[in-house]
């Protein structure tokens, strides 16, 4: 509750600060302090289980350990994102404080999408996340690729929103209570009524689109490639895991009783996402595009949580959000400093910038899922969750096999970083600030700590 209200207010404040503050660095610090306060308030709410505001929300949103812990993780990752990318956001365009305002609005939407208790709030939350994203995608106005990406994302996104709304309408009309409340649908564990089934399929399609699961992933590579790299980093991590969280919350609370009827559909989506993401990523030459496909591949792993929907899956999705967001934000932060975005552009990074090279190594190892990194633990929990369901073991085998494929394209970048000679004109453009370096070190340490001691995150579920 804290994060919903405070992030909306901070967004408004940032918006007005744009009119009065002329120096863009000032709005950077302002946004950072605001976000730190937001993070502290959400951690406070998680520990004390007591929001600052006591509003009668008529059960529209509901908070518990699970979603409060998730919001805290997301805000923590955003904090690291701000620290790493502060100077890059300034370079995108002239409207720096507005970009920050939009990011705060997205955080508000994420908080709603994580705590929603009715389909109405789910829709509003998802929309508050999506609309600022369309704008951030197209914020590099002089770049044709950015324009194209924004238009493509907007049209496809609007279409999927329409499908989601139609699904909600079907579920509203189809359940005996004519209710939006996800706990109150009374679907019954028997065969679903046709109206509910249609609504469920529509919601499944639109949510899969939002998290870029195959076969609804076609927008992803173009949009992630066309958007300014800083914002690609934001939407492929924080926004994506928030989409997954809403997905899980929806399917667990509303459709958990009829899991056996839609499980095979989710199984198909999971398998397709894993295969398409991993296999296509192998052929990419640009690291940015490779990361776009790898984000589809990682989405496949997160889909396992929706397939399983047990306690292990809940623990897994918390870990996965932290591990995947940290590693991907980190690797994108390194990518933004590169002169050349192709894999050859990374040649000899470790010789020129040992710190960047080492951090990149850890991030890529974590994304691959090598033991002692957070990525390993999160993948491990996801596979455990899938196996605990007691059937369809082949999906776990497939996931492991494709994780091995993913090692190929991640290790190609590592090979370029460590075993190739740097080009004479230098690999990295511009100077690296000390804040940037310290945050990179912090991120590396966090990834290793979570990798050794995952209870640090999971523990919040049961406190």
């Amino acid at each position: 509750m804290n994060s919903i209200i405070l992030s909306a207010l901070l967004g408004v404040l940032m918006m007005f600060s744009g009119a009065f503050v002329k120096r863009t660095t000032l709005s950077k610090y302002f946004a950072f302090v605001g976000l730190a306060g937001l993070f502290a308030s959400s951690v406070y709410e998680l520990i004390a289980r007591q929001p600052f505001f006591h509003i009668d929300v008529h059960d529209m949103v509901h908070t518990n350990n699970f979603n409060l812990a998730f919001i805290a993780i997301v805000l923590g990752c955003t904090l690291i994102y701000f620290l790493l990318n502060g100077s890059e956001i300034e370079k995108v365009g002239a409207h720096v404080s507005e970009y920050y305002a939009l990011i705060f609005f997205i955080l508000c939407g994420i908080s709603i999408a994580a705590t929603f208790n009715t389909l109405l709030m789910l829709f509003i939350g998802i929309e508050i996340v999506s609309i600022p994203l369309y704008i951030l995608t197209g914020s590099d106005k002089r770049n044709l690729k950015s324009n194209e990406a924004a238009l493509k994302y907007f049209l496809m996104g609007a279409f999927s929103t329409g499908i989601m709304l139609m699904g909600i309408a079907f579920i509203y009309g189809g359940n005996p209570n004519a209710s939006f409340f996800i706990h109150n649908l009374e679907i019954g564990s028997g065969k679903m009524p046709v109206m509910i089934a249609v609504g469920l399929v529509f919601l499944l399609v639109s949510m899969s689109f939002k998290v870029s699961a195959a076969p609804f992933h076609f927008w992803t590579p173009d949009v992630y490639d066309g958007a300014p790299t800083v914002f690609t980093s934001f939407m492929s991590t924080i926004v994506k895991v928030a989409g997954f969280f809403a997905f899980i919350r929806l399917f667990e609370s509303a459709f958990g009783v009829v899991q056996n009827q839609w499980q095979s559909l989710v199984l198909f989506i999971t398998a397709a996402t894993l295969i398409i993401g991993n296999v296509t990523a192998v052929f990419q030459q640009s690291v940015k595009r490779m990361l776009a496909y790898s984000s589809i591949a990682q989405a496949g792993f997160m889909m396992l949580a929706i397939f399983a929907l047990n306690n292990k899956a809940k623990e897994g999705i918390l870990l996965y959000s932290a591990a995947y967001s940290l590693a991907t934000i980190g690797i994108f932060a390194i990518l933004t400093k590169m002169k050349d975005y192709t894999i050859d552009g990374f040649n000899g990074l470790a010789k020129e910038q040992p710190l960047l090279g080492f951090a990149g190594l850890i991030f890529l190892l974590s994304l691959t899922g090598i033991p002692l990194t957070a990525g390993f633990q999160s993948k491990f929990f996801m596979l455990m969750a899938a196996i605990e369901t007691g059937h369809h073991y082949w999906i776990a085998v497939l996931a492991v096999l494709l994780a091995a494929v993913s090692a190929y394209y991640y290790f190609r970048v590592i090979q370029a970083i460590y075993f190739k000679e740097p080009s004479p004109e230098g690999v990295v453009s511009g100077k690296l600030s000390s804040v940037y370096k310290l945050t990179l070190i912090l991120t590396v340490i966090l990834i290793i700590i979570i990798g050794i001691y995952p209870e640090l995150i999971i523990g919040w579920l049961y406190s």
Binding site: A8, G11, G93, H95, I124, R142, V194, V201
Partner: protein, 170 residues
Amino acid sequence: MNITTFIFILLSVISVGSALMMIASKSPVHSILWLIIVFFTISGHYVLLNAQFLAVVNIIVYAGAIMVLFLFVVMLMNLNAETEPIKNYRLQLVGILSGGSLLLLLVLALMKIDASHQVQMKVGDAGLIKVLGMTLFKNYVLPFEISSVLFLSAMIGAVIIGKKEEKSAN
């Protein structure tokens, strides 16, 4: 057959007919004019369901604002029957397939509906403006207030996209 049932059938025939005409007509301007008729007949349906507020809002927002916007775009871009691109045969096939499966789903869902009460003149007060206001500001106050964030972000977006970028920032 009483008068309301007659009006219901009349409105339904007109709305389905003009919806078909909207798709079938070659000129985009004609399509839009047909669409306006569809919106008016749907507003008629709302009145039959005793939802006067919804009927009025539907006319103001859709038939008024959005359709005028559509007309402006079509006229500004000078679209007409001649500039219509020739449709790809394969694209048409895909369209028929996907649209057909959607239709199948909708028909399946509609078959389950209890169709005995299409018309509810003067029955129920859910669509009246007073009841709507009470619900909106009591039970649904949170989504109502939160939607302001949505509109605010859309407005910021319009400004960012629309504003002319100065050469030198700072």
